[in-house]
Symmetry: C2
Subunit: 341 residues, 2 copies
DNA sequence: TATCAACACGAAATCGTTTTAGTTTACATT
DNA sequence: AATGTAAACTAAAACGATTTCGTGTTGATA
């Protein structure tokens, strides 16, 4: 530790100026071949690496993208990040990821840490708490400095490029499939309405019920409070006097939890009760029966988001019009639902 | 964009020097109350935030920890990172995460990106490819600059503090439990031997067989090649003429995949064949039957690792002796194994 | 012998901040 | 009137790099 080798040290050691050393290392024609060789050999010997901080400060560019996601233990976000990484590397950028843990304060902290020169742009999926508080000043401030693209968990109040999943379409598709396979008492396990994705999925669910002229039953709409015991809240649904015969859950965990509860009650899946989840992750793949679900193309979303961001970063002048791209979802039928006849 | 407010701009605007502005903002006694107020008001109005790059360059400290993990879609690593974050925040540090995707080149790239002032220390879990190539020069170079702590996937050739899971003990415990519940044809689904954790778990498995005087059958030792189809490789094991009656898999996915294959073959779990996995993640929790597994305390591991690292960072003089901490594992018996009688 | 160009290198500015070491100015003390 | 000193600032160096603009030396040309 502490033996960091710098241009200055090389210069001193070789009796040259820092400018000469810098130029020699970048093979400038201004420097004689002799000196170039000498400097390069010395630099190599001492493992010289330019200080990236200094470089960034000088160049006013970092070639780094900051990503902030709410949860780390989340298959969908993982795939989004893969897509982001791919698109970023393709265009010479690196990616740094921070986690807000769905906390407003941590989101602000992370942004402050990465802002101010550290990254050239931000890719953010908003923390639940921030959506709840509806306080977006940190994003507004940020936008003056570097471009921002929101993905998945977005908010209309923030004016920037966005990439979202077709939550409405997904909710509709899932509910429609349940209806078409004979379910009539269809429940939805969703989030409180301030979570954008949950709301969109619920709207799709309601639209499908409406289209097929099925009455909405408020008992069948469960809004999970993350702070309380999730299992207990879902048990109430399954144990309803008039049990639902089809359940659409807005994420994998709710879906898998609900199915387990139903199985514990001795119910046959999908004959007596069907389940559709959202996100095609490991839980859906490995559950038994395997879970029918809406595959969200996280990888595509990541690629789209990073493309939008880099375009903004590299744009000579900013387009005042912001785009919102919608990534479609695919209904993936497995064995937690009945087959179409 | 482009309207970044700096000390210099504030100074110019108010007709002061940058030093005065800097001091005013930090409430220096050298500056009159009047000027302080004026500067602060102005700074607030224009959302002034010190450029963190400049600060780091000046202070030669970033209060940021760089974490590099091989895979993102991995429950265990997620929990480790939670622990790291907790410990880091507690001592005033922030955390940045990069992913090597198990690629040697990306690992080197990530380190280069974060080194040179960006972070005060590194927490790394080595990429598979790096373990395979056995090329650790990037770590050696790194260690001259900032402290390094390795976790989970480590290597004896790298001389630094380490935190590992008790892989050997876990392998032993799992195998012993299978033996005690009547299994005699016990298979292991593991990784190639160059992966440190797989090797440790296999050694535990072998030790248990030896202790209980059960012959080792090489057909029952499957080393999964990640580049090939995982399912196919596991099918070969389950379809062996003399089928194993107990399977210990070194991770969740192998365990769940194996169990699904067995169930597809109509085998009863655990009566005809038992399964134990490693890592207590969502897959184990939601599989059916739920998976017996070795719970690795990732959160603890993260907290231990960050503690070791920060101690190094803040130490006046370096302790030439490096520690290796071992985090114990707990056997969590669920329903994929028989009960002890 | 001036003049000029080419060569090889160095000085200084710059990025944005903090901090040490001055420098004014005004006022009080002797 | 000379000196001291506190108050309120500013200049300049430092962090580590790049780059623009010089500058001194050499050798060739007019």
């Amino acid at each position: 530790m502490g033996t960091k080798i710098t241009l200055k040290k090389i210069a001193k050691e070789l009796g040259l100026s820092t400018s000469t050393v810098s130029k020699a290392l970048s093979d400038s024609y201004e420097i004689s071949q002799d000196t170039r060789d000498k400097v390069k050999a010395f630099a190599k010997l001492y493992h010289y690496k330019p200080n990236s901080l200094a470089l960034r400060l000088r160049n006013q560019r970092s070639m780094v993208i900051g990503v902030i996601i709410p949860e780390i233990v989340h298959h969908f976000f993982s795939t989004v990040i893969s897509g982001i990484e791919y698109g970023a590397n393709e265009r010479g950028y690196n990616v740094m990821v921070c986690f807000s843990n769905d906390s407003y304060q941590k989101e602000v902290l992370n942004i402050e840490m990465l802002a101010g020169g550290s990254v050239d742009g931000f890719l953010v999926s908003i923390a639940n708490e921030t959506q709840e508080l509806s306080d977006f000043r940190h994003f507004e401030d940020l936008k003056e400095e570097v471009p921002l693209v929101l993905f998945d968990r977005v908010h209309p109040k923030i004016n920037c490029d966005k990439v979202i999943v077709d939550d409405f379409g997904g909710g509709f598709l899932a509910t429609q499939y349940l209806i078409k396979t004979g379910c009539r008492k269809i429940a939805i396990i969703t989030t409180p309405d301030h979570i954008s994705v949950g709301l969109g999925r619920k709207k799709g669910y309601l639209k499908a019920l409406e289209d097929y002229k099925i009455n909405v039953n408020d008992d069948y709409i469960i809004k999970i409070d993350q702070k309380k015991d999730i299992k207990e809240q879902i048990e109430k649904l399954i144990d309803l006097p008039i049990r639902p015969d089809g359940v659409f859950a807005v994420n994998e965990i709710y879906a898998a939890t609900a199915m387990k509860i139903a199985q514990d009650r001795g119910l046959k899946v999908p004959e007596e009760i069907s389940f559709i989840g959202f996100t095609d992750g490991y839980i859906s793949q490995f559950s038994n029966p395997s879970m029918s679900t809406l595959a969200q193309h996280g990888y595509e979303m990541g690629k789209k988001a990073i493309a939008l961001l880099i375009n903004r970063i590299e744009a000579k002048e900013q387009d005042p019009l912001f785009k919102t791209e919608i990534i479609n979802v695919d209904l993936k039928i497995r064995n937690s639902t009945k087959k179409l006849t």
